[in-house]
Symmetry: none
Subunit: 225 residues, 2 copies
């Protein structure tokens, strides 16, 4: 199912859009402010964003720029302003389309289809987790440090992959052990100590003073960017 994030502070318009999109089998999330939009987008990973420029908190182009910092998902901007300068600013900030109100629903849907079609052609971009010391390419299953490949054993990779899938989040020892070694090994925290150790030696600039593979004593581990 295609997931669309609607960002609009006008509840009426947002609802109308949502109803229309849901009727066409899109998954719809709605955010009422720029801050909400950025948070929701990170969580829901939308396939497209429909963004009304007239937001109460953050300037619309700021939202575009904020999204573009980490995602290439298509952004369709809605605006009441006809001014060319606004359009240029939004488009150059990274928006894919700019639609002036009032607009027809059919046109919006067609433009959404066009944007999704284009996006579908580009490959899923490499999910890269970049830290100050090393880079993890989850799709290629590859870790580089100073431009050079770091070889990881399957278990090392599996463990690192889990941490990298939720950067910044604390993963408990139980979670990690269950994922990597299976439910039977939930108490074998020694495994974790050994493998976190080898990962630190391979990845950390100063393995004895880790900056990225952080221990939360008594709890678990966390990958800090």
């Amino acid at each position: 199912m295609t997931r669309v994030l609607i960002v609009d502070d006008d509840p009426g318009l947002a609802r109308a859009l949502a109803i229309n999109l849901r009727a066409r089998k899109y998954d719809v999330d709605v955010a009422g402010s720029g801050a909400d939009a950025l948070k929701l987008a990170a969580r829901t990973q939308p396939d497209a964003v429909i963004l009304d420029l007239g937001l109460p908190d953050i300037d619309g182009t700021e939202v575009v720029a904020g999204l573009r910092g980490w995602t290439t998902t298509p952004i369709l901007v809605l605006s009441a302003r006809q001014d060319q300068a606004d359009k240029v600013a939004a488009l150059d900030a990274g928006a894919d389309d700019y639609i002036t109100k009032p607009f027809g629903m059919d046109e919006l849907l067609a433009r959404l289809r066009a944007a999704l079609r284009r996006a579908a052609r580009s490959p899923v971009e490499a999910p890269l987790v970049v830290t100050a010391s090393f880079t993890i390419d989850l799709a290629a299953k590859r870790v580089t440090r100073d431009g050079k490949d770091i070889r990881l054993t399957p278990t090392e990779w599996h463990l690192l992959e889990l941490l990298a899938r939720s950067p910044g989040r604390l993963l408990t020892q139980r979670e990690l052990l269950r994922e990597v070694w299976g439910p039977a090994a939930e108490r074998e925290s020694q495994y974790l100590r050994v493998y976190i150790g080898t990962l630190r030696r391979k990845l950390e600039p100063a393995p004895s003073a880790p900056r990225h593979l952080i221990t939360e004593p008594g709890m678990g581990y966390r990958l800090e960017r």
Copy 2:
């Protein structure tokens, strides 16, 4: 240099567009009719097409469809018609944007930049994978080494093709086995060992110290450029 094809039967507008684009360092070709446009596009391989819908010979959406038959280059449609149905038709035929006249030059340029930006993210269809030791032509199904053809058996080719489709990416044993030998053979990693071995003997300068067909122990294989 970015190459843009302008399709417009109004010489005045075409000239104005061409001048503006050339001033911004685009390479510009101009076609005055739909037939010309299709011919020129094939010859010049434009990075984007600006297409006026009001053509004398062919209907504009036909031109869009004709282009879309063989290229994914961005198409920006210009039209005097405000009608939603026209926009929907053109967009669904494969156009990337629809701009109604009169329009501002700045807006057009911004929309062109947006379209080019997105297109740049899709990879150029590269049927050639070149390594330091050999070259794989995916379209022609050929491998050459030092200018000479290397004969591969069907299975060898199938396996190499998979690796070459995502150069640098680690493909797991399961993925490779499933693709080449079918889901029933997902555990037959012996097949892989044998065939990777023959590929190395045929392609690697030093088969016992492979530089390109890399084993990631316990995980899979990777084609390194």
